[in-house]
Symmetry: C2
Subunit: 440 residues, 2 copies
Amino acid sequence: MSAASRARKVDSRLEIVVLEKGRDISYGACGLPYYISGQVKNEDDLVTYTPEFFREKRNIEIRLEHEAVEIDPGRKQVHALHRGSQPVNIHYDKLVLATGGAPAFPEGMAPDNLSNVFTCNNLVDAIRLREFLEQSRPRNAVVVGASYIGLECAEALAARGLGVSIVERSRGLLGGIETELSACVLKRLSESGVSVHMDSTATGLTPGPSGRAVAVQFGVGDSLPADVILLATGIRPRTGLAEAAGICLGATGAIAVDDRMQTSVNSIYAAGDCAEAMHLVSGKPAYLPLGTTANKQGRVAGENAAGGNARFEGIVGTLATKVFGLEIARTGLSTEQAHKAGFAAETAVVESHSKAKYLGGGPLLAALIWDVASGRMLGFQMVGEEGVAKRIDAAAVALHARMRVEDLLHLDLSYAPPFATVWEPLLIAANEVRKKTRRR
Amino acid sequence: MSAASRARKVDSRLEIVVLEKGRDISYGACGLPYYISGQVKNEDDLVTYTPEFFREKRNIEIRLEHEAVEIDPGRKQVHALHRGSQPVNIHYDKLVLATGGAPAFPEGMAPDNLSNVFTCNNLVDAIRLREFLEQSRPRNAVVVGASYIGLECAEALAARGLGVSIVERSRGLLGGIETELSACVLKRLSESGVSVHMDSTATGLTPGPSGRAVAVQFGVGDSLPADVILLATGIRPRTGLAEAAGICLGATGAIAVDDRMQTSVNSIYAAGDCAEAMHLVSGKPAYLPLGTTANKQGRVAGENAAGGNARFEGIVGTLATKVFGLEIARTGLSTEQAHKAGFAAETAVVESHSKAKYLGGGPLLAALIWDVASGRMLGFQMVGEEGVAKRIDAAAVALHARMRVEDLLHLDLSYAPPFATVWEPLLIAANEVRKKTRRR
């Protein structure tokens, strides 16, 4: 919808058609955990714009329940099926693929018609889960995956009074929070009654009576009983349509695009969770499906499809979430990711406070990841009860600007007792790196 | 104390002596309004480090009640008076001037022994004011000056139940908040029962019985009755000692320093509220006395005085405060300041929300100031109930990096429903500028 809307702004006379497989468009997918918890009462509260809005205000034709099944780049046609059976052919001059992502399931973990196994990938998923919670009143939940979706859903389930366990394959949370910061989050999860099994690969779902799963198997022979199971095991790009049309995928498995969001096939653009984005720190294409990136890519694809010339330089890997009263945010590469990307990465972990202690400032824990060889900043992460998410933005901008740690030392960041201490965590961390470097 | 501490870290064998005119060192001056309101109970809560700490842990000799009265750069000596009478001569190899700032009073507005006229420049001032408030129980206060100190003190006085009026010479708050944002703050002040007289120059204090002032005169013949008067009419650098020693002042009237904090006289450094700082947006030295800058300059001065080689590039004019539940923050130049600095400045004002509407996000008002000629970002300001101060930091970093508005469009800033909307105000404002530019 971002692409369609931007295209309309560029050219008021274009014919713009959107094919949507399902019945929902333009809703706040990041709000789904709050719908599951009940904090957001009605599904309508998540809807940003209705199909009528797009039709009437933006002259964009939306065809719901139209699944695009084939692209013919030679004839410039898309073949779609309306309600699964009625064939529709549409000609295009320019095509934007925004097919999004689908839940990825590890081997043995596909939900396969088990009625109490859920994902949180779209509004339909969330409505189904909430109905199940309200009607079946399950007591124990197992969440597979400690991604931000897994953690936010774990909190939503706990808020509904369920006993919650999390099973996570890796040793880190959110795909790469540094050990010290992860420990802080794990402590909070534990204090909140959530049982967490890290470094534990879920291997299967134990089927029970009446089409339900009764447990999640993990590790070597362990299992956790469950009345309801949520799979937050990652997102894979939906690329089938693109692949069949001969569009190249990148090394990440998502659709390869240039900075104009153009694919390898002429006149076809891709944007959002189906596409890669250039990671400006590693310098390599990455697959980090997030709403912010999807919105930006959509606008750029739409602008270019309509004859404009916009560019999307890329991402720096910014991510934020809040679980059980703790804000967690990261930007750039983790130490491990930085090593994999070939940097001589080191890490400084520092403690600070969210505001003046005499006004009740709570602790903040921060990690700065930098490249010893060049002095370049590679990443920044933070955990704390308040003021974390928006603090990470200063670090994100510094990554965009390719700042060295030395450039961070004296950044003129805001200070007043109600929301900061004189030295921001980013500056404290930079000073810590300076000290480490001097000692050599 | 920052300079002394950093010097100690550079060289453990140096003899380091600090001369302090008063009896307090190293306290949180920015917390004074919260001490006045009573939110901070004891003055000790504001003390960061005691003289004993510096003596014992950092081997720094602190001579309290020693006023430096003359510098002899030829002999490398400082002449001081202990308790106003006992002369002391101290030799230095390197000298750091950290004489700070003093309240600046417009003509006719000096407090001249009037017992109910106060400033909020240091701990002694604040203690005197709080004692007066607790003992004399005044009912009406007039605050002269709508700087951040003026506004914070107005809130502190209102919190103690006083009726508060503010008289401000200019048309803007905080020395240059854009009109639309100022209006938002003025509305809040008015709703909080504070009567504000903008564009009104205070011209005199009306003396009354028993050494008190009874009113503040302003404009042409207006006056406001007052039981207590707070003068927040700005800070001037304390430069007398430096000037007498032949040290050059800059165009701002503060001590001119290079990026090593060196003054025009060899072996003498200056840092903090007595010194200028390079404004990285205007490219000219500026006088913006703030604790964050003072701390950074102090460290750099101390490092260099001890034989190191540190540099302080400069400031971008970041400032934040919170009054009556409203956060106000700015960085860079205001439109007016930008015009004065020779830029073809324009302004985009946009509205957004602090977080997802379905989680109760409140309104944010933001202004982006940019140079039409170069496309360069010049400033950013924001007002709102939450999430403002730390949001301004991303803009501050962008100013350090000399970003153009075009560079802001796709910054990878954090998003999650509990603390942001998908498009950050900074990005919305950049997009607004893009649209404005296209229309031409």
